[in-house]
Symmetry: C2
Subunit: 326 residues, 2 copies
DNA sequence: CTGAAAGCGCTTACAG
DNA sequence: CTGAAAGCGCTTACAG
């Protein structure tokens, strides 16, 4: 059932049917009613591909992500999708978690109006080359990443500022012996550590390698960090963790060994996601303000799609979520 | 830059360019090389919409879900997407979490080869009507749901069997006083409760309303359940929870009040997701075997797409994950 | 207010 | 082995 069939049944031309479907002006009421009736009667839905061919757009935006199962990332995707939906865009998710699927081959199967990359893992020369070669005119939004290309835009969480908020807060509550738990060497964690160090220096507090614990970015990593903290008897009254999950693991172990939180040791996380709510009191954390980040990202991306000038790189300030673990 | 431009530059017809792009046989090596060179030189990518119009498919499958931020659901989506990718399908996610976006309007913007609904919340007369009206010939897979339509297929976790495994396991460890924590009235939770009751009866164990606690399906709900358990002094040595998150909350509170787990009270969850790993020992739970469910779902959906006979409703047996809380 | 015709960018029989 | 032509299902100037 296509537009010609409808036209025939209604006794009009396909052009007229098209006008009715798209609510174009200058249709006689009589014709309009007649066509509408035939449309309903046949449960007609216009072929989206044919429409897309004319407008050269499927109203589709690709979101490229490393692993959608990560809670923080699924929250970001949710926000981005909802905002795009409000502007009549659909989103197609390319999950690059599994290395053996060819992301770029997959991309080429669709005609995408714009691309959104989530996470700094896509800020690579390979991606830069690929985009400049095959998508030189497609607006690209790097969410928490950078890409040095005329068609690329960024919205980035200012993690350093977030860590400064944490240190400031802990310092004001009288904490002096800071230990930092790191989990990766990616850009985000580097920014976090940098903010942490900067603020410590500002307060004239000591920090060296002996106060830096590096582990995995999960609950186990937190337990591991706590174990090493105790094993090496590192003096510590404030344990600053790079991720909520790490903080939860560390807290779990420290409580087990009889430490009072935050009395003996204050603990903080980063991201302020649900993991930090699986305790009483809640975990003190930095909220990256991902809703605001998503809002800015979509606003700028839509601007770029309308060929307007948009800010190339925006840093969004996170805020402190003050739980009871500090 | 379209296929005509390439054809002109290569001095051949568009048909020949098309043959090269699609690796069709019967091309002279000379022509092939010449066209390939022009293709590379211009970083040509065929227009996916135009291709789609010919084949009447964008190789796109729509996944409709209530809220992608839910950890269990994001895991399911991950599995489904990866499997579909292997078969050259892309997936577009329609998140119906926000009621004020019009799901079905959104659907019609794309030409979808198949639809996958995740969760029993889509097993409604409204969806049935809509599908039978507008997508009578599109294969529809209900993941953990049912839809009585000739083009609809189901893969469902046999939650009742899962709960039976739990009860059997607890009974064998000597537990006698079972309390059940429910969280919803949806089909899945009904099946869970039914399995629980059935097995209890089989063992001749008592169960009545006084041993059923209904609360919310989150960590707070678990804490609430524990509080009520203590407040009403319900005799209990086995607390069976409908979800992992509930179990974690209950465990948190019971530990706080000095109960030994599983010595005094055994605790079990359902879904076997990461929440249950945020403790030591891990939470005993039922693994719905979502990987296997996804495998079967995609296998049957692909079968339906190839117009083969496929099983209409498949129940997948979950298995017990035996942690240390039981 | 309405219709005939061209065009969107491909692919695919068909003919040679 | 290659090309001319038709067709996929719409929309959109253009003409009337």
């Amino acid at each position: 059932m296509n537009i010609y069939d409808i036209a025939k049944k209604a006794g009009v031309s396909p052009a007229t049917v098209s006008r009715v479907i798209n609510n174009k002006p200058n249709i006689s009421d009589r014709t309009y009613q007649k066509v509408q009736a035939v449309l309903k009667e046949n449960n007609y839905i216009p072929n989206a591909i044919a429409r897309g061919l004319v407008s050269n757009s499927m109203n589709l935006i690709g979101i490229i992500v490393d692993d959608i199962r990560n809670l923080y990332r699924s929250h970001i995707i949710y926000e981005l999708s909802q905002l795009l939906n409000q502007h009549r865009y659909n989103t197609i998710i390319f999950d690059f978690g599994n290395q053996d699927n060819d992301l770029f081959n997959s991309l080429q199967q669709q005609q995408l109006d714009a691309l959104i990359f989530i996470g700094s893992s896509f800020s690579t020369p390979y991606v830069t080359d690929y985009i400049s070669k095959y998508y030189p005119a497609t607006p690209v939004m790097m969410f928490n990443g950078l890409l040095d290309l005329p068609n690329a835009y960024s919205v980035i969480c200012d993690e350093a500022a977030g860590m400064e908020l944490i240190v400031e807060h802990l310092y004001r509550t009288g904490k002096k012996n800071f230990v930092y738990v790191n989990y990766s060497e990616n850009l985000a964690s580097q920014r976090k550590l940098a903010g942490f160090c900067k603020k410590l220096e500002e307060y004239g507090l000591a920090f060296d390698e002996s106060r830096l614990i590096t582990t995995t970015g999960d609950f186990e990593g937190g337990r591991d960090a706590a174990a090493r903290l105790l094993q090496y008897s590192i003096p510590c009254d404030a344990l600053v963790c790079g991720l909520d999950l790490i903080a939860m693991g560390a807290m779990y172990s420290l409580k087990y060994f009889g430490y009072s939180i935050p009395g003996d040791i204050a603990i903080t996380g980063f991201d302020n996601i649900i993991y930090g709510k699986l305790s009483d009191p809640f975990l003190t954390s930095v909220d990256s303000n991902h809703k605001e980040m998503a809002r800015v990202a979509i606003e700028n991306l839509l601007g770029a799609l309308r060929k307007e000038e948009a800010e190339k790189v925006v840093y969004v300030r996170p805020f402190l979520f003050c739980g009871g673990t500090s």
